[in-house]
Amino acid sequence: MKQNHYEARFAGVGGQGVILAGKILAYGMVNYEECQALQTPTYTAQVRGGPTKVDVVIDKKHIEYPRTENIDFFLSLHQKAFDLYFTDLKDDAIVVIDPNLTQHIPKDIPQQVFVVDLVEIAKKEMGNPLYAMVLAVGFFAGVTKLIKNKNVQKSVIDNAPKGTEVENLKAVRIGFALAKEALKRKEDLVRLTLKDIDKNKL
C-alpha cells in the first residue's frame, strides 16, 4: 500500500450486502496485504431497507480511532444512504454511485465521480442484484490499487456464503475490469456500463 492511511465507506440500504463488502475488504487487507484494517458498520433498526454503511479504516500501523475522519473513497448504492452518509469526504476522494437508486448528488462537488451501473450489471451477469456490493469491492480494488484483484478473490472465498463463490468471483473480476476502464477516462464525472468492458477478457 502506497498511502499510510486510507478510509473507505460503502453505503446502501439493509439487505444490499453492505456489511459483507466491508468485511471482505478489511479481512483481505489484513490477511493478504499485511496491513492493519478494521471495519465498523452502522445500520438502523430496520433489518431491510434502512440506510446502512460500513466504514473500513486501513493503516500501515495500529489504528487508534476506529471511525473515519477523512474519507478517501465513498460508494453508495442508494439515495437514502448517499444523503445520510456523504460526509467527512476529502476533496480529492473518489465517489462512486449507482445511477439506478442514487439519482441526485450535489452539483459542483470537488471529488471525482464515477457513475457505475452496479445493480444492473449484477442482475444481468450474476442473476441477482445482491452481487452489486461485491462488484463494488472489485471496483474499489481496481481504482485504488490498495488490494490486488487476486487478494480480493481470496477474501471473497473466505467470507462469502458457500455456494455463491462462482458468481462472487465473477463479480470481483467485472468490478475490477470496470475500474480499469474508469481510470482511462479523464472527465470529472465518468459513466460506465457493461458495454464499456470486454467480457471475453475477464
Binding site: 468485511k23 492493519q36 465498523t40 452502522t42 475522519e69
Partner: protein, 377 residues
C-alpha cells in the same frame, strides 16, 4: 511469527472469551446491538457440550443464568439498555443470593427503546444503581478487541471469586467492530473457579461466614440442598429479619468488593507524567481521546489520560490525587454526564471538570476533544 491472529468482531470475542473462561450456559433474549453475542454463543456452545437457550423475555433470561449458575455452570447473558432495565430485579436477586454470573450489556441510547442501533454509554449509572438496595458492583469497560477478550475472562473470574454478578459495559462501536487481533495462548490463561464446600451435605450452610466473606458454594444436584431467596437470610439461606444478622450480611456483601479493590480496580495512564490537563475516559471514547492527546502534544499542550478498564469500583484514591494536581479534567462521554457528575463531587472545586457529552449516536470525534483541550489550556 504471531500464531493466534484472526479476524474477530467484539461480539464474537465476548462469546469466545466466555467459553474459554469455562462458561457453558447462555440464556438470552435477542436485542440490538447485543444479538450477535447470542448468535455466536448459539453456534459455539453446543460444540463444547454447553447449553444455549433463547428465553421468552429479558427477565426470564436473567433468571435462567441464575438457575444455571446455582447448578454449578458458569453462565452468561447479553443484553442492551432496555433489556438491562428489565433484568434489574433478577440482578438484585443474584446479588442477594450471591450467585456468580456475567451480564454483557452492549449499551445503546435511551431512555426506553431510544436509539437501538447507535453508540451510547448510557448505562454507567444503571450498572451502579439499577437494582435497588445497597449492593457491590463490578463493571468493566473494554476499549479494544484484545481487551474484550481479556476483560470478559476477568469478569468470569471476579464473579467466581466473589460470588457476585459481574457486568461488562460494552460500547456498540466495540461490539460491532471487526479486525484482526492476536489472542493470548489459552494455556496461559488464569481461570478462577468458585470454591466448593469441604464438608458433607448435612454440615453445609450456603452462607457460612466461618470461611470468610465469600462462603463456599455448593452446586445443586450434587447432594447439597439449600434454600435460595431474595429475602434477607441467615447462614442457612432461610429468611431472617434479625437486625444484627441483616446488617452484618449487607456489610459483608459490600466488603466482598471493597476489601478487594486492590485486585479489582484497573486503569491505565497515558502521557500523564507532566500532564496538567487530564482526560478521564473509558470504552471507545478513550480511543478518540488518545488521538486528540497526540495531536495536542504536538501543539505543546501537556495533556494526558486516565482510562478506566474497570469503571466500578472507581479508583477513588487516584481520582482524588488527580483533582489536587491538575488544572482541568475533561470527561468525554456518550451520555449527558453520568461519570463527570461523580468526578465533580471528587473535585469539590479543586479543579475544573469539563464534560463532552454526545447522545446523538455519533461517536465523539478526536477533533471534538482537541477543541476542548485547546479551550481549557
Amino acid at each position: 511469527m504471531k500464531k493466534n491472529i484472526k479476524f474477530y468482531s467484539g461480539a464474537e470475542l465476548v462469546a469466545k472469551a466466555a467459553i474459554d473462561a469455562g462458561c457453558r450456559f447462555f440464556g438470552g433474549y435477542p436485542i440490538t446491538p447485543s444479538s450477535e453475542i447470542a448468535e455466536h454463543m448459539s453456534k459455539e456452545l453446543p460444540k463444547v457440550g454447553g447449553t444455549f437457550i433463547q428465553m421468552e423475555d429479558e427477565i426470564a433470561a436473567m433468571g435462567s443464568i441464575i438457575g444455571a449458575s446455582l447448578a454449578g455452570v458458569k453462565s452468561l447473558t447479553a443484553t442492551s439498555g432496555p433489556g438491562f432495565s428489565l433484568k434489574q430485579e433478577n440482578l438484585g436477586y443474584a446479588y442477594m443470593a450471591e450467585v456468580p454470573c456475567v451480564i454483557c450489556n452492549v449499551m445503546r441510547g435511551g431512555p426506553s427503546t431510544g436509539l437501538p442501533t447507535a453508540l451510547a454509554q448510557a448505562d454507567i449509572m444503571q450498572a451502579k444503581w439499577g437494582t435497588h438496595g445497597d449492593h457491590p458492583v463490578i463493571a468493566l469497560t473494554p476499549a479494544y478487541l484484545e481487551e474484550v477478550y481479556e476483560l470478559t475472562i476477568k469478569a468470569f473470574n471476579f464473579s467466581e471469586m466473589y460470588r457476585i454478578p459481574v457486568i461488562i459495559l460494552l460500547d456498540e462501536l466495540i461490539a460491532h467492530l471487526s479486525t484482526a487481533i492476536e489472542l493470548p495462548d489459552k494455556d496461559l490463561l488464569v481461570i478462577k473457579n468458585r470454591k466448593g464446600p469441604t464438608v458433607k451435605p448435612e454440615k453445609y450452610f450456603p452462607y457460612d461466614t466461618a470461611y470468610g466473606d465469600v462462603p463456599p458454594m455448593a452446586d445443586f444436584f450434587k447432594g447439597y440442598r439449600y434454600h435460595v431467596t431474595g429475602l434477607s437470610h441467615d447462614k442457612t439461606g432461610f429468611p431472617t429479619t434479625d437486625p444484627d444478622l441483616v446488617q452484618a450480611d449487607q456489610e459483608r456483601h459490600i466488603r466482598k468488593v471493597n476489601a478487594n479493590k486492590g485486585k479489582i480496580i484497573d486503569f491505565e495512564y497515558y502521557k500523564m507524567r507532566d500532564a496538567d490537563i487530564v482526560i478521564f475516559a473509558y470504552g471507545s471514547t478513550s480511543r478518540a481521546a488518545r488521538v486528540a492527546i497526540d495531536k495536542a502534544r504536538k501543539l505543546g499542550i501537556k495533556v494526558g489520560m486516565m482510562r478506566l478498564r474497570v469503571i466500578w469500583p472507581l479508583p477513588e484514591a487516584e481520582i482524588l490525587k488527580l483533582c489536587s494536581k491538575v488544572k482541568a479534567i475533561i470527561v468525554p462521554e456518550m451520555n449527558l454526564g453520568q461519570l463527570s457528575n461523580v468526578i465533580e463531587k471528587f473535585a469539590a472545586d479543586r479543579t475544573k471538570i469539563v464534560g463532552i457529552n454526545h447522545v446523538g449516536g455519533v461517536p465523539i470525534h478526536p477533533s471534538n476533544i482537541l477543541d476542548v483541550i485547546k479551550e481549557v489550556k
